[in-house]
């Protein structure tokens, strides 16, 4: 999901455009926080890690080449910070459970076959999978999907919200649906989608 927009945004941040910095922060802070919170139970540690991740990112944006999506690049830094945190705590990284860390999620999904509380576990897993997919999508894709399906906005209302035209929103939604389906399917397969096909 490499986006030209990522590179353009990075270039603008490197030019010290304040608005670009705000856009960078607004786009990725919440997603990184959720990424981290899925792996770290302590809110204080999560705040420190996300802060450190974003500080390291803005100091090394020159090295971002656009070979991966910016969010994936940030997640790499965040994973490293999480690993450091666990080492400082004297704990093994493998103790953290997250949906998109394949070995752990497989175990979690296997637990779906347990006779008790299977519905709730499956619902939570599905909920996280959908939200994870949205976090990995370009921000305008996930926002457009949320406006439409969660807030019940019409295409016209979404256009007004995004400051664009109706045709552009229809096109955006079409691309967003395709990206969502692909992303969801990929993640599902990566983490053991067979559990859902049963």
């Amino acid at each position: 999901m490499v986006q030209n927009g990522d590179l353009q945004l990075v270039q603008r941040v490197l030019k010290q455009e304040r608005l670009a910095f705000e856009q960078f922060f607004e786009t990725y802070f919440s997603r990184l926080y959720r990424f981290c919170a899925a792996r770290i139970s302590s809110p204080e540690a999560c705040e420190d890690i996300v802060q450190e991740t974003m500080i390291k990112a803005v100091r090394s944006l020159e090295s971002f080449r656009g070979e991966a999506a910016l969010f994936s690049w940030l997640c790499q830094i965040c994973r490293h910070e999480i690993s450091n945190w666990y080492q400082r705590q004297g704990r093994k990284v493998e103790m953290c459970v997250s949906l998109d860390d394949a070995p752990n999620i497989r175990a979690a999904l296997e637990s779906l076959y347990a006779p008790a509380a299977v519905d709730e576990a499956e619902r939570l897993a599905m909920e996280k999978l959908v939200q994870l997919t949205l976090d990995y999508l370009p921000d305008n894709y996930s926002r457009a999907l949320e406006y439409m399906y969660l807030e019940g906005m019409t295409v016209k209302e979404i256009a007004a919200q995004l400051g664009t035209g109706v045709i552009a929103v229809q096109s955006l939604l079409a691309r967003a649906r395709v990206a969502f389906r692909r992303g969801f399917k990929d993640l599902q397969q990566e983490i053991g989608g067979a559990a859902y096909d049963g």
Partner: protein, 355 residues
């Protein structure tokens, strides 16, 4: 298997990768998953401040390195010329770039202040704004130790900055308070103002209030209505005003909360008059003037009868009240009319005909 589980399995397995067909699969999944959780506002504020600082520091330190790289030999002249041309073109590009979204208008300023949009493209000059200018998202407004500002937000509320105050304006009535004290007059219940500080996030519910960073924490003082103060972790406390009695709520850096009553006419509100334009009496009715003055002073306005109220609406005013506090102006203006204020409760102004 339950219906819900069948829906889950159906929803997941129905997702196809060819991107065609109805969208009911996505709708089902998204409704099932619900809204993505947002991090607490105060965490966002703290992280934002730290990352912004790091970014600005990095920019400052990166600049000398860039200059060093600029000490190039003559053989690099063609590249330097090309780079210059690119910069010129980039400048033209900036000229043609769409204007940032406006969030309000600078309505009043006195003393030392700066209202600016940090420069685009890393240039040394910032875009500065003056009284009457429309100001865009991302604007940083600051007052010196003798300065006051008033900003009319497009979503309906107004904002006043006390001396030595600094805020960044975001969109939809969202703003960061970096230091100092602000007063918010937000009469419309449908358009909320959200003030984010390092200690708490303050959201109004149609009200007048101040927010100040003071004594290692944040103080919220409510003069009218209700405000919710979010302390994170789904913990919210409220402060409200009723019958002339407001409330001051102080949250320290350990998120301990202290409350103290404060009258709506307390002298501690008086600084807000320094950050406002004088009321223009000309072409206004007495009724409009009294409504303005009472709102400024935290008074409830009452008329002795409907006839008095109607007469006040029909009474046109002329003249000036420059330099007067609203309470002084009330007496000065009433003295020139057929109306008088009756003695009553401290937080009320009751207007009747002169006998």
């Amino acid at each position: 298997m339950t219906d819900r589980k069948e829906t889950l399995r159906g929803g997941a397995s129905a997702v196809n990768t060819n991107g065609v067909g109805a969208d009911s699969d996505i709708r089902k999944l998204m409704v099932l998953a619900g809204r993505r959780q947002e991090p607490p506002a105060e965490v966002r504020a703290r992280v934002h401040a730290s990352v912004l600082n790091a970014w600005q520091q990095h920019a400052v330190h990166a600049a000398p390195a860039a200059l060093d790289r600029g000490r190039i030999g003559l053989y690099r002249w063609p590249w330097a010329i090309a780079a210059s041309l690119l910069l010129v073109l980039a400048g033209w590009g900036l000229l043609w770039s769409p204007a940032p979204t406006p969030v309000g208008q600078l309505a009043y300023a006195s003393g030392g202040y700066s209202v600016l949009q940090p420069a685009e493209g890393g240039g040394p000059e910032s875009q500065r704004y003056h009284v009457g200018d429309s100001i865009p998202i991302g604007t940083l407004a600051q007052t010196a130790d003798d300065g006051y500002l008033k900003i009319a937000l497009d979503q309906g509320a107004s904002l006043r900055l006390d001396r030595s105050t600094s805020v960044t304006l975001q969109n939809n009535g969202h703003l960061w308070l970096h230091q100092g004290r602000i007063y918010v007059d937000s009469p419309d219940r449908d358009s909320q103002v959200n003030i984010v500080t390092p200690f708490a996030s303050v959201i109004d519910v149609g009200t007048q209030f101040t927010v100040a960073l003071i004594d290692g924490g944040v103080s919220v003082v409510v003069r009218e209505g209700l405000v919710n103060v979010s302390l994170g972790e789904r913990k919210t406390v409220s402060a409200k005003a009723h019958n002339g009695m407001g409330e001051m709520l102080h949250v320290d850096d350990k998120q301990r909360v202290k409350r103290e009553p404060i009258t709506t006419t307390d002298l501690r509100w008086n600084w807000i008059h320094q950050a406002n334009t004088d009321f223009d009496l000309n072409a206004s009715s007495l009724y409009e003037f009294l409504r303005w003055a009472c709102r400024e002073e935290g008074l409830e306005l009452h008329f002795a009868s409907q006839a008095v109220e109607l007469a006040a609406k029909q009474t046109r005013l002329h003249g000036r009240i420059t330099g007067m506090a609203p309470r002084e102006a009330i007496q000065a203006v009433l003295a020139t009319t057929q109306f008088v204020s009756q003695s009553g409760l401290a937080h009320q102004l009751v207007v009747s005909f002169k006998r």
